[in-house]
C-alpha cells in the first residue's frame, strides 16, 4: 500500500519538474496503485499492465516539465496511463486479441432484461472468489470507451469533470458512458446471481 502520509498536496511540483528523484519516488508511491487499476482493467493482463505502468511513469517523468498545474497531477497521470494502454491495445496483433470479444453495446441493448431480484441475498455468501472473478471478467466485456469511464468514476472515485479531463470527454459524454457501463454490469451480475442461486423462475 502507498504511504498514506503522502498526498497530492504534499508533492512538491517544483522539485518534480526539476527532475528530483525523491519527488518522483513520492509520485510513484502515491499513484502506482491507482494507475495500475486503470491500466489492468483496460488491458486485461496483469503482466502487460505492469509494463504499461512502468512506461506510464517513464513518459510522465519525461514530460513533467509540460505539466502546467491547471489540472490535478492525478488527472494528468491518468491521461498518460490511458494513452499508454490504448497504444498497446492498438498495436496488439489480431491473433493476440482475447477470444472474449468485447460485445458491442448499442443503446437498444441497454434495456434491462434481467429483473432477477438479488437485492437481499446475503453478501458474504454472494461475494465468493468466483463471483469476484466474474465481476472482473464482466469489466473486460465492457467496450473500452465505457470501461475507462466506469473505472475512473465508480472505482477510483474521480469526479465527472476529472474523468472528462483525463479522457478528453465532455461531461455529458462521461455521464452517458458511465450510465451505459453501469447498466451493462448490472445485467451481467444479475445473470450471474440468477444462475448461481439456481432460482430460474
Amino acid at each position: 500500500m502507498a504511504d498514506s502520509s503522502i498526498t497530492e498536496a504534499t508533492l512538491n511540483l517544483d522539485r518534480l519538474r526539476a527532475g528530483d528523484k525523491a519527488a518522483f519516488a513520492q509520485m510513484v508511491a502515491l499513484y502506482a496503485d491507482r494507475l495500475y487499476n486503470l491500466i489492468v482493467k483496460l488491458l486485461g493482463n496483469p503482466q502487460e499492465a505492469e509494463d504499461a505502468l512502468q512506461e506510464t511513469f517513464v513518459n510522465a517523468f519525461r514530460n513533467i516539465h509540460r505539466f502546467e498545474g491547471r489540472s490535478q497531477l492525478g488527472t494528468w497521470l491518468y491521461r498518460i496511463a490511458h494513452n499508454t494502454a490504448l497504444m498497446r491495445l492498438r498495436t496488439r496483433r489480431p491473433d493476440t486479441i482475447s477470444i472474449d470479444e468485447p460485445v458491442t453495446v448499442e443503446d437498444g441493448e441497454m434495456l434491462p432484461r434481467q429483473i432477477y431480484d438479488w437485492r437481499d441475498l446475503p453478501e458474504d455468501e454472494m461475494l465468493t472468489g468466483e463471483a469476484l472473478a466474474y465481476m472482473e471478467a464482466a469489466i473486460q466485456q465492457l467496450p473500452e470507451p465505457l470501461r475507462a469511464v466506469f473505472v475512473l468514476r465508480d472505482i477510483e472515485e474521480l469526479s465527472t469533470a476529472e474523468v472528462g479531463e483525463a479522457l478528453n470527454l465532455s461531461e455529458p459524454a462521461v455521464k452517458s458512458r458511465l450510465h451505459r457501463a453501469r447498466l451493462f454490469l448490472r445485467e451481467r451480475l444479475s445473470e450471474y446471481f440468477h444462475e448461481r442461486t439456481g432460482d430460474h423462475v
Binding site: M1, A2, D3, S4, K21, A22, F24, A25, V28, A29, A32, D33, Y36, N37, V40, K41, P46, E50, L53, Q54, F57, V58, M110, L111, P112, R113, I115, Y116, D117, W118, R119, L127, L132, M135, E136, I139, F150, V151, D154, I155, E156, E157, K175, L178, H179, R182, L183, L185, R186, L189, S190
Partner: protein, 85 residues
C-alpha cells in the same frame, strides 16, 4: 419487463438519480414511479448494489512483487521501503 414508456424514460435518469444529481422534480417523478413499479425498483436497487460491489471490491492492486519490479525498473529501489506502510 420494464418496457412501458415510463420505465424507459426512468431508466435514462437512473444514474443521475443514484448520484444525487437529479433535479427535485425529476427525483419526485422517479420516486413516484418506483413506488408503483416493482420491476423498476429491482433494477434501481440492483444497479446501486452493482455500483457498490465494484466500488468496494473492483480495485486491483499491484502485488508486492510487481511493486518491487516497478521500483527496480524505474531505478527507485532506495525508496521502496518508504512506499510501504
Amino acid at each position: 419487463m420494464c418496457e412501458k414508456p415510463d420505465c424507459k424514460q426512468l431508466l435514462e435518469s437512473l444514474s443521475l438519480y443514484l448520484d444525487d444529481e437529479a433535479e427535485e422534480a425529476l427525483c419526485a417523478e422517479i420516486e413516484q414511479h418506483l413506488a408503483e413499479c416493482p420491476n423498476c425498483r429491482i433494477v434501481v436497487d440492483t444497479l446501486s448494489k452493482t455500483m457498490r460491489f465494484y466500488h468496494d471490491h473492483g480495485h486491483a492492486s499491484l502485488s508486492k512483487e510487481a511493486r518491487e519490479r516497478l521500483y527496480t525498473a524505474l531505478d527507485l529501489n532506495d525508496y521502496l521501503r518508504d512506499s510501504e506502510s
